[in-house]
Symmetry: C2
Subunit: 186 residues, 2 copies
């Protein structure tokens, strides 16, 4: 069932994939998939072995002030990665870098399950939201690789507070600041 | 000879490794290493199969205005990665993410051969230079992963000019701006 889900999500993307399609591919009843995983969201998280569940973590971030969103997003990222989610996160990133299909799954996770909700809270036009979201992704993914994989100092052993102070303003600028956005023909 | 060089650079780091040590490990005369590779720099680039030679590319960037350094660094990164260096770059990143030793080599390449020269041009105290360099690394590596590996849109298909405009200011801030730097006990 998880193998069928991985294939479907990687081939079609999160939006175009339904539990019905995955159940058909796996040769089981859709009710069985619902029974085991509850929702398409949960099935997706299980399929990619996500390090954390955005449904549980994002509402707290999105409940804060828009002017703190950049700092709050960096703090959440570090909370997940400095905690027990790191092993699963590293496995996911390693797999995504070496495997084209896992790369698609990680992109779907980031774009559809994380960034779209964070940037979606700002009420922007779709193209602007995607552009800002992809810039946010570039900084957050870079922190993950630099801190946890390459371990470039002093970023690797800096405290969460230090990184929130240094990198939060970048994410805030990408989210709400005056940025010349890619894809806007400008 | 390259295998001995990779081992030595990964174990000791770039600074603490000499051609003499590598030659001894490989069981050859140091003069032979000099003959084939010319310098420790060139041997290192060959050992990690670097996508580009910083000695050739960085002087142009460093000759520009300090106020343009962030944009110029982003432009150089995209010049290498949007050009024939991409295949070697992707191979190096893939290897670094899956292999602890290649990760050390890539870190040495970034820190000792690229960032130290870029940030070094600013004449900062060593600790501040390292802190600013690691922040720059986090943004540049993130662009590479987001654009070329995960291919998150619209960043993946944006023009170099668009990305220089959007991301150059972040790198400029990390290089010369007012940033609360990690590792400064602040």
């Amino acid at each position: 069932m998880l193998a069928a889900a991985r294939t479907a999500f990687a081939e079609r993307g999160f939006d175009a994939t339904s539990i019905r399609v995955i159940a058909a591919d796996a040769g089981v009843d859709p009710a069985l998939v619902h029974h085991y995983f509850g929702s398409k969201d949960k099935l997706f998280l299980a399929a990619i072995e996500a390090p954390a569940d955005p449904d549980e973590l994002l509402p707290g971030v999105l409940a804060g002030e828009t002017s703190d969103l950049g700092a709050d997003v960096v703090r959440l990222l570090l909370h997940v990665w400095d905690g027990p989610g790191r092993a699963a996160g590293l496995a996911l990133v390693r797999s995504a870098v070496s495997n084209e299909w896992t790369a698609r799954l990680l992109r779907e996770f980031l774009v559809a399950r994380v960034l779209r909700r964070v940037v979606g809270s700002l009420g922007l036009p779709a193209a602007e939201a995607e552009a800002r979201g992809s810039l946010v992704a570039s900084q957050l993914i870079g922190v993950v690789i630099t801190r946890y994989l390459l371990q470039v100092e002093p970023l690797a052993s800096a405290s969460a507070d230090e990184l929130v102070a240094a990198i939060g303003p970048t994410v805030q600028r990408y989210l709400t600041g005056d940025v010349e956005l890619p894809g806007s023909a400008g």
